[in-house]
């Protein structure tokens, strides 16, 4: 098991390197010069500007600059934010837990909705339940998260006045009150993100279960006299989940995209809104670091999917 994970990690490493290469290329190709302001400043002679460029290594060959940047990233030296004047890594560490919590909980919610609904729809295909569930799922994943978010705020916060529509990181309550307020303010973002995911997962689960349920071994299990519940839960669902896990892993980038939007709508102080703020204020070190962190998260979740895959499908051995 340990070796398997280690091997997967080693496979993930080139991907991270590839992504860092893409990121750096984008930055290097981008027009604009960090010392542009100095060029327009008559008080700064060109020699000083050139000396500064040489000091920061901007005239070095591009691969040398890439290696230096990569080395700094690996050592944890991520620079400091131009705007808030604190280190980028501590800024990100401050914001990351909220994002992880919102994404994680919404995925759990999506799973709890998609799995039973998808299985039930597939067990009785083309029944009324299946038709309604499939249509709702179709509508669900055609609704962009920014629109559902706006609709939720409109209905639950403005029309009914039940839930707050701005997420506050500094709740004044303590103890149970704190948890209650936290729950109240998290419920809308998690639902918006979770239901969007659930809609597309439900379709995957349904078609995967439909593929498996007609196989001979399921008939065998039934003819052995096993209860339908056992056949579905133990024999069908576990095998049907194998392709679903792959598709879910492929969806991870989209999930993070959805998280950025949701954080922006509900003003959640996570790394997604940090990215948007940084872009609006030209805070390059933060932009680079957050994009890199998002890439690492995507790869990390792909890794989790790989491990899950191995657990679901014993034919993939942990050699």
């Amino acid at each position: 098991m340990f070796n398997y994970i280690l091997r997967r990690l080693l496979i993930a490493l080139p991907s991270i390197l590839g992504i860092s290469l893409v990121l750096f290329t984008v930055l290097a190709l981008a027009p604009g010069d960090p010392f542009e302001d100095l060029a327009n400043n008559p008080n700064v002679p060109p020699e000083v500007r050139m000396a500064l460029r040489a000091q920061f290594g901007l005239d070095d060959p591009i691969w040398e600059r890439y290696l230096r940047w990569l080395g700094a990233m690996v050592r944890g030296d991520w620079g400091f934010s131009f705007v808030s004047r604190i280190n980028v890594d501590s800024l990100i560490l401050q914001r990351l837990p909220v994002t992880i919590a919102v994404i994680g909980l919404s995925q759990v919610l999506a799973l709890m909705v998609a799995l039973p609904v998808g299985v039930l729809a597939a067990v009785k295909p083309y029944s009324w339940f299946d038709r309604i569930a499939s249509t709702v799922a179709f509508i669900g994943f055609s609704l962009p998260t920014f629109f559902t978010g706006v609709l939720f705020i409109l209905f639950f916060s403005i029309h009914l006045g039940w839930l707050p529509f701005v997420y506050r990181a500094d709740l004044s309550e303590t103890g149970w009150q704190w948890w209650w307020q936290q729950f109240r303010q998290s419920i809308m973002p998690i639902t918006v993100l979770g239901l969007f995911q659930a809609a597309s997962w439900m379709r995957y689960v349904r078609s995967a279960v439909l593929d498996v349920i007609r196989l001979d071994y399921v008939t065998t299990a039934r003819s052995k006299g096993l209860a339908e519940r056992v056949v579905i839960n133990k024999h069908v669902v576990r095998n049907a989940l194998i392709p679903v896990v792959t598709l879910v892993a492929l969806q991870m980038p989209a999930v993070f995209g959805g998280a950025i939007v949701t954080e922006q709508i509900f003003r959640i102080p996570g790394i997604g809104s940090l990215l948007i703020d940084a872009i609006l204020r030209n805070d390059t070190p933060v932009i680079m670091a957050v994009t890199f962190v998002f890439s690492c998260l995507v790869i990390f979740f792909n890794l989790v999917a790989d491990v899950l895959y191995g657990w679901l499908d014993p034919r993939i051995s942990y050699r």
Binding site: P31, I139, S142, L143, T291, V298
Partner: protein, 313 residues
């Protein structure tokens, strides 16, 4: 669709044995199947209606998108302003009709970009095999695991100003958004095309062409590519919807088109802050995006059924 092309039967004017179904081309057959999918069929009509409204609307509905009318700020829908007005008293219907052109154009152009890149890469990988295939598939997998929205935002942040300077405001941003969205959506198409190539190049009709001495480019262009287009068309349809959502998302985050170009996402973004006073402002553009995406997805679903040879309808 592979292997079931009755092109010779239609080309032969004598009609061979005179079978009544001999004249049905694969496209007519696909259309017949498509019509069976009720939701897809109606979606296609709604979609056509929306496209027509967006194309003809601004010439028929003569209200300027920038006409400021402080008398009726944030007015709810009425006979004078069917979709209401925004905080400067500008007519939302007029702005949506104009913005819809841009939203749909972005969707179509980004789809064309994604599909052409995907088809080229998939075709090269499927034809060349060997290390070229391996390298291209590694690239595809790498792109699939990139966090798209953050990179989209990063690219727009870095390249917006220079492109604006080079091509002007509207065209520059249009090019940028289409390139970036298209550049991040070609991977599924590339994989599809490659898989199709792998199965098609072993089929008898390709073998026959090869035996007749057809060169590799001819085999690919005349025989393999046309037969692999069914799934690609389905993917392309879904891509239009995805590109429209991507553009609206960018505009909604305030990083797409500038405020004076009212795409649907942009109107929704502007209307968000006035939701308690004028909910129609955010509601109508949101509904427009939703309806477009929903109908396109249904059409894609119908096409999938129509092109799937395993389906007996």
């Amino acid at each position: 669709m592979a292997g079931s092309t009755p092109a010779s039967a239609t080309a032969d004017p004598t009609g061979g044995l005179g079978k009544p179904t001999a004249g049905v081309s694969p496209w007519a057959e696909a259309w017949r199947r498509f019509k069976r999918h009720r939701l897809a069929f109606w979606s296609l009509w709604i979609l056509c209606l929306m496209v027509a409204a967006v194309l003809l609307g601004p010439t028929l509905y003569k209200v300027g998108i920038g006409d400021i009318d402080f008398q009726s700020r944030l007015a709810p829908p009425s006979a004078k302003h069917p979709f209401g007005t925004d905080d400067l008293g500008r007519d939302i219907l007029a702005r949506m009709l104009y913005g819809g052109r841009i939203s749909l154009a972005v969707g179509l152009a980004a789809m064309l970009m994604a599909v052409s890149v995907g088809v080229i890469i998939g075709a090269i990988a499927g034809t060349a095999r060997g290390w070229v295939d391996a390298a291209l598939m590694w690239l595809t997998d790498l792109f699939l695991s990139l966090p798209q929205l953050p990179l989209l935002l990063l690219l727009i942040f870095l390249f917006r100003e220079p492109l604006k300077a080079a091509f002007g405001l509207e065209i520059g941003i249009f090019i940028l958004i289409v390139m970036v969205i298209g550049g991040f959506r070609w991977m599924p198409v590339a994989r599809l095309v490659r898989a199709q190539f792998f199965s098609l190049r072993e089929k008898e009709f390709v073998e026959a062409a090869r035996a007749l001495g057809a060169s590799t480019p001819r085999q690919v262009i005349r025989h393999i590519l046309p037969n692999s287009l069914g799934p690609v068309i389905v993917a392309a349809t879904i891509d239009v919807a995805a590109a429209i959502i991507a553009e609206s998302t960018l505009s909604f985050l305030g990083l797409g088109f500038p405020p004076d170009i009212p795409t649907w996402g942009r109107i929704l973004y502007d209307g968000r802050d006035y939701m308690d006073m004028a909910m129609h402002w955010a509601l109508f553009p949101g509904l427009a995006i939703f309806l477009t995406v929903l109908t396109i997805n249904f059409v894609g679903d119908g096409l999938r059924d129509a092109f799937d040879p395993r389906r007996v309808l």
